[in-house]
Structures are given as structure tokens and as C-alpha cells.
Amino acid sequence: MELISQHTKRIMEGCKQRALDAGLRFDRETLEYLVTNRDLLELTPKLMIPTLYDYWVHDVEVLKERGRYELYPSNPYETVINTRPAISYYNDNNPDWMNVMIFYHVLAHIDFFQHNLYFRHTWDYDFTGQALSDKRMIAQLRSEKGRWVDYVIEFARGIDNLVGFHAELGRLNRTPATSGSRMLDYYFDHFLQSVRALRPNKYIKEIERYNACLRESPEMGEQAFFAEVLRKYPEFDSNYKKSLDAKPVGRQDLMQFILTQSEFLNKERNRWMKPVVEVVRKTSLFFQPQIRTKIMNEGWASYWHERLFLQDDRIRGHEVDFARTHAGVTAMPRVGLNPYALGMRLFQYIADLGDAGRYAMDFRKLTDSRQREHYDRHTGGGRELLFKVRENLNDFLFINAFVDQDFVTRFRLFVAGRRLNQAKGVWEIYVKSRSAESYRAMLRNGLYHPPCIEVDRSRAGNGALYLVHRFEGKPLVREFIANTLLGIEYLWGKPVQLETSEFVRGEPTPGPAALPGMQMSLGEEREQREMQWQRVLYTMQDRKLTRELL
């Protein structure tokens, strides 16, 4: 890996200035490297992070047929990574005009990384630096503990898709505490609501009484208020003190729970495992937002590289080259989903919505299609709306908010279905629906969504760990359960139970005997069986898995 030439760097700096002028915001410092195929060979298994810890699985082809993109929430071929400074990778024989286009694309990505709130937890440190120190720590441990380090990495990675990404964001984006004292917060937020369970009218009366006290004497009001409280509820004082002692128990994900509660990990001789698990958890958290903003991120980058490239005076004469490459990247496929194409069109659509003032209640209330068609308030709010969307949404919200019928109709989108034509022996691809409703549903279905599996503390008996899978219509991959639970059992040191839903097939009912010459339908057998969902409990004890129906 080497840095790009001074000539190319100068082009990049020019791009930066133009992008800043256009309104994008990012750190001025960036690093650009040329990569060869050999570099990529090493980089891709490490998810383009050059300093990621070593792990033998990186050297092996990982089979991903099942849940291909569920396994690792990141793209192995990302051109720019979300570090400080941001690092991006380039082919060494790109012509200048192409580099200009890629630079704009990269800059828009950086702008997105550094402003979208789902990346909030990655803003305060440089991941490559952190990863480097982690890598050294793991290498050091490996020299002491040998292959056991790899087992710990393996078992921790087995549950790293269950990290509490949203809880982490919630912690960082907490609304600032109220101006009142802690005692006041406790009184109104916990004591009155949970301990005394006051009726709303009494609760409001208490608030009024508090306000009255303050009006009477701004300095001494609170004290007077609590004097009255203590007279009324003598137990308040001790309750409040107890609440100060109790540690705030946030929602812990499975990895955190194991880290803090596992007796096995907290034994003196096993302590070294904890930082390893931490590293795996941090790494996973770092990649979480990437896959949850795929359509937005690529759409945003494509939208801006198109705009900025066409305005760039330095690349005159390469419009046709650009058009070809750009179309290759952002053309809507006849069948399939291209995040670049879809995202870019959505951002264009949003800009138009904002410019015409259509992103407003007045427009939504209109039901007359002719009026809707000609609605234009010339508010010019497109840019502002764009930047707001880039800051606050992720793919799920983005799709839900902006893929509406107007959008689907304007870009002639549809949901493609597949059905068997028995006579011809082919699958037919057909236009299934052009409604926004089903298009959104199809998009949502394809989005990354790890299962929600949480620790149920109330059902843990005998030190066992009881996990509950919140069922969302899809079962877990059954072949993977045994080895994953084996890993959790190792880290936990005691038996592990997992409650989940499975699809149990009833007995097949005998169908009519096939007649000579009649085509057997492929789906027939399936239809003859009754299907039902059933809660099942897996127990992993002493590295043996048992399964029982609940």
C-alpha cells in the first residue's frame, strides 16, 4: 500500500474545496492509498481495516450461503473506511477524471459517516488506531495462551451480531438531564410513579405545589417542598438513599451480560479473556451502522458525485466517459436492487419534494390527484431537507418515510415475482405489483435484521443462562444453534438455554396418485403438509445439546 501521488492528491484537494463549497462537511484530513490485488487479498478478510486483529478464519474461505450478509454487517469491498483520518483505497491505473468522480463519491461517504447520527459512537476515536492496539494485545495474549485466544475470539464472534447497537446509541444520544436536582428527578420520575403509584390528578397537584413553592421563594422553595414531602411520606428519605446506592442497570446485550456476570470469565485465571471479548464487541459495534445505512450511504454518495462532477470545470471533455461509468453504477436494474440507483433516486426525489414544499402537511392532506400533480410552493427547501435526512435517518426509516406511491410511479418501480411455468419448465419473472405498499414491504424484507435475543434473568435457574429469541416470523438457522450455544456455554461456564420458535411440519397427507403423463407440481408436496410454529427450548449442557418442545 502506498499513498497516491502528489499530482492525484492535488486533484483530491480540489475536490474537497468544491465539495465544501457545495455544503458537504468533513474533516479536511484524509488518507488515500493505492492498492494492488495483493493488498486486497489481505484487506478484504479484514473488512478493509488494515490493523484489524489476526484471526485464522480470515485466511479461510468462509461459506456464506446461509445468511450471507447477516454474518458480518459490513462490506468487504468498501472503498472508504470510517476512521480518523478517513482512509480510502484506489486502483493505481484510474484515469484522472475517474479519480475525480471517485473522490466526490468518497467525500460524500465521509460526510455521511461524520454526520449521520447512527454513526455517533464512532465519532470520538480513530478505529484504526484502536484496532492496532487491540491487535497487539491479542498478539501478546496469543504468545502466552496459544490457541485458546482463538477459541475465545471464535465464541465471542458467535454472538457479536447480537450486540446492543441501538442501546449504545441511546446511551450517547441521551437527552440532557433536567435542570432540577437528582432528588427532584427521583421524586417525580420514580417515587411518585412507581413506589406510590399516584393517580394523574394527584401527580399534577404535586407539580403545582412544587411550582407554587418555587414562586414563593426561588432559593428556599425546593427545601420547603421536600420538608412537606417528608412529612407526608416518611419513607421517602430512605428510598432516595437506596436509589443512589443502586447502580443504574442499563439494558445489557448478551455480550455485556456475559462480561459482567459470568463467573467463569471473572475467575482470576480467565480474566484475560474479557478484553478479547470486548475487542470483538467493539469491532462489531463499529460496523453496525454501515449495513443499516447501505441504501442511504450509497445513494448520498452517488447523488453528490453526480452533482459535483458535472459542475467540476477540471474534467471538461470527459462527460461521455463519466456518463458511461455513472450509468453503470446507478442504472436501475430490470430485476434486482441496486442501492446506488435506488438511494440516488430517493435523494433526488427528496430534493424535489423539499424544493416544491411538498414535504408538508398541506400537501399530504391533498387527495385530489390533479392538485397533487401541480402542487409547487417554490419554497426551495430541498437542500435543507436533504441534509436533515442524511443526519437523522437509517435505511429502514428512509424507506418508510419516502418510498411512496409518487416515487414508485415516477421511477416506474415494481415488485418482481417468480412463478413456475410447468409446461415450459422455466421460472417466469413477472411484474407482481406496482403499489408502494408492496414495494416498501419487499425492501424492508431485504434489509439487514439480526434476531433479537435477550437474557431473561427471571428464568435463570441454577446459574444457567436463559436466552429468549423474540420471534419475528423467521426461525433461526438450525444448524448453527449447536456450535453457537457451545461457545456461549464456554464463556458463561454453566449451562445455556435458548428459547426460540421453530416450524414443525405435520405428517404429510397422501395425495392423489399421479396420473400417467400428468406433470407433478413441485409445490404440491409442500402444500399437503400442515405447518405450524412451536416454541422450543434448546439446552446446552456439558457440550451436549438437547431440544424439547415447550
Binding site: T44, Y151, R157, N161, P339, L443, P450, V477, T484, A514
Partner: protein, 444 residues
């Protein structure tokens, strides 16, 4: 014939289909019929700069595969399940040039949603452009997705960590790492060199050694045509006209010495019922057996490939054998008979140790084995080992398949334990089970 058997036969008859080789990947192209790409399969480097990862070098990788397998063995000692699979792929090539590609693969198990589960509904995807709701905009052949391939990546792009190797290396790995038995008696060892170089080819005009007799004949012929020989009874060589092309030389050429030590017949049932995992299992196992024999006989292995449905045919190379699609009915005896015919016709018993491996799902229209058993007995009379693999369908679990039934009934397994082996596995078996099966089939 029981009703269930009848249903099976009817299904195979009705299914149609052909045994074509799969279309080359490039031809699939991006027609509207092709499956659309997934949302997350688009990447900047690929889309913007067309950068993809390169393949590792072969020599380095073989060392690392040893390390990986060593690691895997240690896992077992430590009480954890093994994780490395040695996936194999056959790279297409001209006859005799196929390469076995070893792809060490593993799976990172996590608690994931089973995305392949969609209830009864066919998956839907995005699309754009013209077309009324309900209009058909493309077609896709039904069988395209079910190409048998190794257990390797097989995703069409060629995995970045493929390790090219030959069957010999795979055989070595299988023997050493998976503790496959060594052959104790490698048969009558014949000294042989694979090629003998000899001055056997003739070449006109120039060469290494003048073939005088042939040259004279040629000159005579030329002069006859020219009318230069008035009286055939009295030839005067001094009047001959000699054209440059008349000189016939001998040139050095490699001659294949056909004495090989082992001859392996691979028989595969490619009837319609073999669709899916059973075919993958059978071909994977055959790749491994082939590799093992290549190693055991130090490359001196000849192979013959036979595919059968109701009729058997010999195919020229592993690629065709490996990739032909399934269709049609099942008649096991046809394959056995073809083997017997070939052996007899070419008098192979004199020169070879003959191994015969047959993979099937156990269906046979000849339910009683009335035709198969006599042919099988004949095979046993000359072969060193006949190994039959039955990849049983999941829905038939617990009951014996037709082939298994009639072979057991014939008592041959007990009578000729050294010659006939049978391995029955479930169609969802994993690699360790496959290797276990090979041990059953080939152990002394």
C-alpha cells in the same frame, strides 16, 4: 410393485429434463431472466473501480492448509467440534487437464435468521421499467440453480482463497489428516514408465532418421505416377527422379505406455430422483476417492466415468461426469452391464487392478435386483473392490432403499466382504461423514 414405487417411477418419467451440461457462466449474462443481485452485494471497489481480490499462490497455500488441518485436529483434542472443511471443485478443462481446486472452508456459526425460510411464498425482488402487473418479463430455466458443485464456494465468481492443487495433494491430505487407510497390498506392481520415447512417427521431408525402405517405396510410387518406369520387371534406380517430399524420416515421439496400475470406474446415477444434495454428496465422495487412489498409486491411475439413468453411457472426462444434470429414470443394471462390457471388450483384467465405485440414491426400477445382481456378481469376479454409496433421501429415512434391500438380500456383502462394500448415508451428511464413508468403502 408397491404403490409408492409406482409413484416414484411415474414421477421420474414425468419429470422430463435432459442431461445437458450446464451453460457456461458467461452465457447467463444479465438478461432480465437472471436473478437480480442482492442489495448488499454491491460494493464501491467493485462497482466503481472494478477491483476484486486476487488468488493466493498455490505453493504457499498448501503449507497453510496443512496448518489449518493441524489446527482442526487440535480442536478435537480440546473438545470442540471440527470446523475446517476441505471443499473441492473440479475446474473445467480439456480431457485430462482438470484441476482439483482445494478450498478450505469454514462456517462462522451465529444465531441468524434463516433467510431461506419464506413459508410458501416465492421470493420477490425489486424491478423497474415497463410492464403491466402480471406481465411476464423474463424466464429462467428451472435446473440452472441446481448444478452439482463441490462443497466449495461455487458462487460463480471464484473464491478469493481457492488453492489450486492436483488430486495428488488432496489424496495426501485425506490420507494423512483424515487418517484414511493406506493400501496395504497395492496389487501386482508392474514396472512402468508412463511414456516411452521412440522413433515411431514418420515425417516427410526432414527428420532424425531416414527410413530407407519407406523412402524407396515413396520414390517408386512417385516415379510410377510420372511414368518414369517403363518396365516394372526391370527397374533402373539410377533413372529415378527424387522429390524432396519422398524422403521419409522417423522422428522421436512420446509413446504412452498403457500399463497403469489401477483402473477406477466411477458410476453415477443421474436419474431425476438424484436432484439436489444426493448428487453433490456422490460427486464429492468420488472426487475424494479418486484423489486418494491417485495418491496411493502415485499418480498411476486410469479413470473411466459412467453415467446412467435407464441407460448407461461412458463420458470422456471428470468435468462432464461431475456436471451433467440429472433427469430420467433409473436402471442400475445398465451401468453394471456397461462396465462388464468394457472390461471384457478391452480385456482390462489382465493389466489392471480394477476399482468400481457407484453412487446412487437407492432407487431402482428393477426392484428385485434381478438384473443388477447377476451383473454385480460378474463385476466382483474380476474387480479389487466394488464400493456402492447410497445417499438416502431424507424422507426415506429409516426404511431401506431398493438397492440396499436387494444387495443385502443377495448375501454378497457377507460372502465377499473383501470385494463388496456398501455405505448408506443420509443426503444431508457432512464432510466427516463422507470421509467416514470412504473409509468403509476402501478399508482392507
Amino acid at each position: 410393485m408397491s404403490p409408492a414405487q409406482e409413484v416414484n417411477i411415474r414421477r421420474e418419467l414425468a419429470a422430463g429434463g435432459s442431461h445437458d451440461l450446464p451453460e457456461p457462466l458467461a452465457a447467463a449474462g444479465n438478461s432480465a431472466g437472471a436473478q437480480g443481485r442482492d442489495l448488499y452485494s454491491y460494493h464501491d471497489l467493485d462497482v466503481l473501480q472494478h477491483l476484486t481480490a486476487m488468488q493466493g499462490s498455490a505453493s504457499a497455500s498448501i503449507r497453510s492448509i496443512d496448518e489449518l488441518l493441524e489446527r482442526d485436529r487440535r480442536r478435537e483434542q480440546d473438545g470442540f467440534p471440527r470446523k475446517i472443511n476441505v471443499g473441492r471443485l473440479i475446474k473445467p478443462g480439456k480431457r485430462g487437464k482438470e484441476k482439483v481446486v482445494i478450498v478450505p472452508t469454514t462456517v462462522e456459526e451465529k444465531l441468524l435468521h434463516d433467510t431461506s425460510f419464506r413459508g410458501e411464498e416465492e421470493p420477490s425482488q425489486g424491478g423497474s421499467g415497463e410492464g403491466e402487473a402480471g406481465e411476464v418479463i423474463g424466464e429462467q430455466p428451472v435446473h440452472e440453480e441446481q448444478q452439482p458443485g463441490g462443497t466449495g464456494p461455487g458462487q460463480g465468481e471464484g473464491g478469493s482463497h481457492e488453492m489450486e492443487s492436483n488430486a495428488y495433494d488432496l489424496g495426501r491430505i485425506l490420507t494423512e489428516k483424515f487418517k484414511l487407510p493406506n493400501l496395504k497390498d497395492k496389487g501386482k506392481r508392474r514396472s512402468l514408465t508412463r511414456y516411452t520415447y521412440d522413433l515411431t512417427d514418420r515425417h516427410r521431408g526432414f527428420g532424425q532418421l531416414l527410413d530407407k525402405k519407406a523412402t524407396l517405396r515413396k520414390i517408386l510410387e512417385t516415379n510410377l505416377h510420372l511414368g518414369n518406369i517403363p518396365d516394372v520387371g526391370r527397374i533402373d534406380p539410377s533413372r529415378f527422379l527424387v522429390a524432396p517430399d519422398d524422403k521419409v524420416y522417423r522422428v522421436l515421439s512420446p509413446e504412452k505406455d498403457y500399463e497403469s496400475q489401477a483402473l477406477v470406474f466411477f458410476l453415477r446415477d443421474y436419474s431425476g430422483s438424484m436432484e439436489g444434495p444426493s448428487t453433490v454428496l456422490v460427486v464429492s465422495q468420488h472426487v475424494m476417492i479418486y484423489s486418494w487412489l491417485v495418491y496411493q498409486y502415485a499418480m498411476q491411475v486410469e479413470t473411466r466415468f459412467i453415467l446412467h439413468d435407464t441407460e448407461a453411457k461412458e463420458v470422456p472426462d471428470f468435468y462432464t461426469y461431475y456436471n451433467s444434470k440429472v433427469a430420467g429414470g433409473t436402471q442400475v443394471s445398465s451401468a453394471y452391464q456397461l462396465v462388464n462390457d468394457i472390461v471384457e471388450r478391452e480385456n482390462l483384467t489382465r493389466d489392471y487392478n480394477i476399482y468400481i465405485f457407484h453412487g446412487t440414491d437407492g432407487d431402482d426400477w428393477d426392484h428385485e435386483g434381478s438384473q443388477s445382481i447377476p451383473q454385480l456378481k460378474k463385476m466382483l469376479s474380476y474387480s479389487n473392490r466394488v464400493g456402492i454409496t447410497i445417499a438416502q433421501h431424507a424422507h426415506e429415512e429409516g426404511q431401506r432403499t431398493e438397492v440396499e434391500k436387494y444387495i443385502r438380500r443377495s448375501g454378497l456383502l457377507e460372502d465377499r466382504p473383501k470385494l463388496l462394500r456398501m455405505d448408506v448415508l443420509r443426503e444431508d451428511s457432512d464432510e466427516p461423514r463422507l470421509i467416514e464413508g470412504i473409509k468403509t468403502l476402501i478399508a482392507e
